[in-house]
Symmetry: D2
Subunit: 350 residues, 4 copies
C-alpha cells in the first residue's frame, strides 16, 4: 500500500483527492493536512467522507510527513511548496504539487506572472511537468511532479497535436474558456458567494491570467519556437467543469488547407490510444456534463471553410483531470501502477 | 458474471443503473432496452458512457430478455411491467422493478392512486418490497423485487424506528419533502425545462401524490395498525437529491416524553450496523450535497421541547438510494453478493 | 419629494431598496449608508445601479441622517437600531427598521431568542409591526415601523385568516419553508459560497429559528390566545424566493369540517381587496418564480379529506415583500402616498 | 394610447414584451396571440401576469390584428412573418418583427443560412434593421422594423466603433459568446430540460449559427467592405443573459498600435450619449448579472500589449435588449415617444 499524505486536504482539490483515493485499491491516506481545521475530523468538514474516514486533520508539516508518507500531494496556494521544499525532503518521499510552483521552467516568467519570488529555483529542473498523456515516460522514476493547472490541461491537450503537426498557425491561437466555480477555491470571498455567481457569466484575468505562460510554455515546445496566445477565462454558474473553445487559422500547405480528415488523423496519432482522451465523432462537440466527476478529456473540432479557421473544443472536470484526478494519474505512473487505477468511474450525469 | 438487462436504460434511472453497473465487478450488461432510441448507441445518448460501452439500444422485449439475462431491471412508467409479466418469465429470470407496479400489496389501493387497472394482480404476492435495510432477509431467494420509490425510501427509513418503537404518534406524522429535478424524468415537458425549474420552488401532488400510500403501507406495518400521513413533495432547482423533513408529536410515556437519547437509541437499534445509513451526530442535520452520487441515507433529528414534536430529516440521492443504487443493492442480495458491491463510491462534492 | 436615507444600503436588502426607490416617483435617496464601503461609489459595488446614481456610500450616522432625511430605512443586523435609537431622532425623522429590534413586543422573548440585550426597550411600544395588509390603519401617522421578517411575512399572511376565523387548530400548525440564498445576506461565509449552496437542500435553525416567536406573536393575536408552532426553514439553491408550506388540522364545527368553500371565503374576506395578495384558483399552488422581483404574496390551499388537515402554501420574493418592498409599502402608508407606488412592476420570469 | 398586438405572446420573448408593456404608460395590449394556448387566460400560462391582465389568448391572425392594433410585435419562428405579410397589412398597421425574416438584406444569404425560402422578398427593402443606437434616425417613420437577434445585438454593438474607426482588423474578429437558456425558447425539447442544461457548458452552432451573417452584414457596413467573422455561441446554465467576448488584432497606424485611450475615445464617440449603453471604467469587465431584467448593454475592453489584440466584452439581457426591450425601444421611436419609456427599471440583482 502506498502511504499518502495531503497538504491542503480541506480545499476543494484536496477533498477531491480524498474522494478519488478512497476508490483506489493500492493506497492509504495517512495524513490529512489542513491549515484551518487542525484537530477536527476530516469527515466533519467534508461530510460526504462520513463512513470513509475517522481521521483528524493535522497541521501541514512537510518534514514530518516525509517520514510517514511515500508520496505527498500539495494542494496549496502558489508559493507554499517553493518555500518549504528541499533536497532532504525529496530524498525521503515523492511530491506531486498541485500548485504552480514548479510548472514553469523559467523562474523569471514565474516571478513576473505570479508576482512572488521563487524560493527554491534550484529545484525547478528536478521537477517534471505532469501532463500525463504527453510526458508519461519522463514522469516515471521522478520524485517531484508539477501537476498542471486546470485550464492549462484542457487548453494544451486540445491544441497540442494541431500545433505539433503544424496544422495551425500557433500565433493566431485564441483560447476562450469557462470554468465552474470550484476552480475559485473554498475561501470565504464575497465574489464567490452563491448569489454573486449564480445567474451570471463573467470574464476575469483578461490578458493576465496566470495559466497563460503555462499554456505558452507547452505549446511553444510543440511548435518548436516561442509562441504567444490569448487566453480568457470566464466564471460559469456551475460547480465543476471547464470548457475551452480554441480558435486558430489553418496553415496553407502546398496550396491547400488541412481537411477535417487531416485534423482527425493528427488527433488520432497523438491520442488514439489514450483512455482518458475521448475524441468525439466528426462534428460533435464536448459538453462539460459528460465528463463530470471523471478524469476524461473530451475533444471535438470543426473547420470553418469560410474563414479557414479551426475551432477546437475541449472539456474536462476541473477538479479531476484539472487537479486531483491527474495528480492521482501521476501517482500511478510514479509507483508503476496501472495508470487508470482509481480513475475508471463513469462520469456522473445528470 | 451476472448477465443484466435493463428495460428503460435511456431514462435517468436506467442510465444511472448503467453508471453503477459499470463500477460493479461481477456483472455484464447484455441488453440496453429503450423505447425511443432503438438502434442507436447507448453512448451516443448518454455520452458520459463513451469509452465504457459500444452497445446499441434494443427494443424492450421482456420475453427475449428473459432468455439472455440473469436479472432484468425495469425502469419504466407504472403499468408496463404489470401488463407484460407472467410466471413463465419469472421462471427464467429475476426481475427488479423500479416502477410502482408491485410495491403496494393492496391492488385496489394501487388502482385508486395510480388510476390504472393492475393487469397481473396475481403476482403481487410473489413480489417482495425491496427496502433493503428493513427486508433483506425476505429479499434473499426471491425472483421479483418491487424497488421502493425515491420519496418513499427516504421518508420511510427516516421515520421507521420512531414508529416501530412507539416514540411518536404516527397519526400526527407530516412529511414535507423536496426533490431534485431528475426525479421528474427525461420526458420533454414544458414544466421541466431549465427556465421553468431554475430559480423556483414549487409544491406538487399536494394531498394526492402516489408515494403516499406506499409510505403509509410500510409505516402501518411498523405501527402495527393502519395509519395515514400527510406527504407533500416539492420540486427544487437541482439535479439530484431528496430531503425529507418529517414532523410528529412525541408519545407521552409514563408521564414523560422521549429524550434525544431515547431517539438516538432507537435509531441505533435499527440502523447502527447499516453501512448505507449514516446517523448524524446529535443536532446535525442532513444536506443533500453530502450524499450526491451515493447510496447513503443521512438521518438527523431534533426534539422541539416547546411543542413536544420530533423533527426528523433524511437525505438521499434520488437516483441512487432512491432508484438505481437500491436496485443494485437488491441485486446483490438476490445473487448472494456483498450488498455493498459497486456501491462504495464516496459521494461527489461539490 | 420624500428624502430617504438607508443604513446598510450595500447589503442585499438595502440594495433592493435602492432598486425599488429608483422606480418610485416621489422619493430621492440622499444617504447611501454603508459600513464596509464608505467613500466608494454605490454603483461600483452594485453595478446594476450604474447610470442611476453617482453617489458615494457614507458612514452610518443616524443622528446626522435624521437632519437630512424624511425617512430612514435601517437594513442592519439585529441590535444596531436598538443601540442607537432615541426619542430625539424619532422627533426629527421616521424610521422603518428592517431588522428584528422592534418586532417583538415582549422584550424578554427578544432577548431569549436573539441572545442579546435590548438597549432601548422603552421604544418598543412606540413601534408598530409593519405587516401592511393586517395593520395599515395602525401604521398611518407613526414614526417607527418594525418591518416584518421574510419568513414571517409569508408564514403569517398564509395562515392568518384560517387562525382568525377558527377554521384550523393553531396548536397543530407546522410551517415548513424554503428560502433563496439572498436571505442569508452578503457576508463572506464559507457556508454561503456558490459550491456549498448549489445542488443542495438543507434545513437550518431547526426548533430555534428566530422568526418563530414573531410568527407566534402575530398568530396568537389572530387566535386570541397564546399559541406555539413548529417552523423549519430550509436553504434552497436559488437567489430569491420563499415558499412556506403550512399544515394544520381543521376544526370540527357542528359535526363537520370546513370545506374548500369555507376556506376560500375566509381568505377572500381578509384578502379579497388586497392588490399584493393573489389568492390562487382552487387547487392551484404558488411557485416562487411567479412572484420574483415583485411585492406579491401568492397563496394556495388544499384540504386533505383523509387526514382533515388543511395545507396552505404561500410564496413571496424574500427581498421584496419579505424586506425592501414591504418597507417601501410601509413608507407609502406613512407618507400618505398610494400604497402601490413604486411596487407595480410585474414579476420577472424567467 | 398605442394599441398593441403580440403574435407569439406565450413564448419567452413574447411574455417579456407583456411584462415590459405593463410598465409602459402609453400602451394597451389588445391582442395576446398564441398558437398553443388559444382560449386560455394569458395569466394562467404566465402566472406572473396574474393581477395585470385577465385577457385570453387569441389565435394569431395578422389580418384581423391589423384592424385593431397600431403596432404588432411578431415573436415567432423564422418564416412566419415572411409567409403572411403583405402591403395591405403594412398599410394598416406597423410591425416590429422579432424573428429573422427581415434582418438580412440579401435574400440568398437568408435562404442559405436559414434553409427556407423567403416568401416575401419584395418587402425586405421596406424593413429597417432596428438596432436603435445605430439606426434610430432611419427607424423613425417606418412601418416594418426587423428587430435584431440577441447575440447579434450584443456582438455588433460591442465591436462596431472599433471596426468603424479602423482600430481593429475586422478579418481577425472572433466572437465567443454564451447565452442563458431562455434564448432557446419554451419548446418542449429534451436538450433544454433542467437536468440537461444545469451544471454544464456547451458550444452549439459552431461555424454555422444563423446569427453569423447578421453580424457580418452590420460590421461590413461599419468596415465599408465585406468581412467575415467567427462566431461561436455557448449555452450557459442560467435563465437570462448574453456575454460576448470578442478578439481582434489592432491595426498598426503610423507605426504604433492604438492605445487604451484611443479605444476609449472611439467608444465614447459612438456611445457617450447613449442611455442604454454603459461603457465601463478602464479595465472593468461586464458581467451578465448587472444587466439582468434591463435594456442595458455593458461594454468593457482591454488591450493585450503582448499580442496586440483588443479584447472587447459586451453583456446584455437576451430577453430585453436582445429581444423584447429593444422591440419596445423601436416602438417608442416609431411612435415618437421618449425612447426610454417603459425601459428605465434598474437591473434586478441578485
Amino acid at each position: 500500500m502506498v502511504k499518502v499524505g495531503i497538504v491542503g486536504a480541506t480545499g476543494y482539490a484536496g477533498a477531491e483527492l480524498v474522494r478519488l483515493l478512497m476508490g483506489h485499491s493500492e493506497v492509504q491516506i495517512v495524513w490529512y493536512g489542513s491549515k484551518s481545521y487542525v484537530g477536527q475530523d476530516f469527515a466533519s468538514i467534508y461530510m460526504n467522507a462520513r463512513g470513509f474516514t475517522g481521521e483528524e486533520c493535522k497541521a501541514d508539516d512537510l518534514d514530518k510527513m516525509a517520514e510517514e508518507c511515500d508520496v505527498i500531494f500539495t494542494a496549496t496556494p502558489q508559493g507554499y511548496l517553493g518555500s518549504v521544499l528541499n533536497e532532504d525532503i525529496l530524498s525521503r518521499t515523492k511530491i506531486i504539487d498541485l500548485s504552480a510552483d514548479f510548472r514553469l521552467t523559467d523562474v523569471s516568467t514565474y516571478e513576473k506572472w505570479y508576482g512572488i519570488e521563487h524560493k527554491s529555483p534550484q529545484l525547478i529542473n528536478r521537477a517534471v511537468y505532469g501532463l500525463c498523456e504527453l510526458y508519461r515516460e519522463k514522469i516515471r522514476g521522478r520524485d517531484l511532479v508539477a501537476n498542471p493547472g486546470c485550464y492549462t490541461t484542457c487548453s494544451i491537450l486540445t491544441a497540442y497535436p494541431m500545433v505539433a503537426e503544424g496544422l495551425i498557425d500557433p500565433d493566431t491561437l485564441i483560447i476562450d474558456a469557462a470554468s465552474g466555480t470550484s476552480g475559485a477555491g473554498r475561501g470565504a470571498k464575497v465574489q464567490n458567494l452563491y448569489c454573486e455567481v449564480n445567474e451570471s457569466m463573467k470574464p476575469y484575468g483578461v490578458t493576465n491570467h496566470r495559466h497563460t505562460p503555462e499554456i505558452e510554455q507547452e505549446l511553444s515546445l510543440a511548435a518548436g519556437r516561442d509562441i504567444m496566445v490569448n487566453f480568457t477565462p470566464h466564471l460559469a454558474p456551475m460547480n465543476r467543469g471547464i470548457l475551452a473553445t480554441e480558435y486558430a487559422t489553418l496553415n496553407l500547405r502546398n496550396g491547400s488547407y488541412p481537411t477535417m480528415e487531416d485534423v482527425q488523423a493528427a488527433y488520432e496519432k497523438y491520442y488514439g490510444d489514450e483512455f482518458f482522451i475521448r475524441l468525439l465523432p466528426k462534428g460533435q462537440m464536448p459538453e462539460t456534463r459528460w465528463v463530470e466527476g471523471s478524469n476524461f478529456v473530451d475533444i471535438g473540432y470543426l473547420i470553418d471553410e469560410r474563414t479557414h479557421r479551426l475551432i477546437m473544443v475541449g472539456a474536462i472536470d476541473n477538479l479531476v483531470k484539472g487537479a486531483a484526478g491527474q495528480a492521482l494519474q501521476n501517482m500511478n505512473i510514479l509507483f508503476g501502477l496501472d495508470e487508470k487505477t482509481g480513475l475508471t468511474g463513469m462520469p456522473v450525469f445528470p
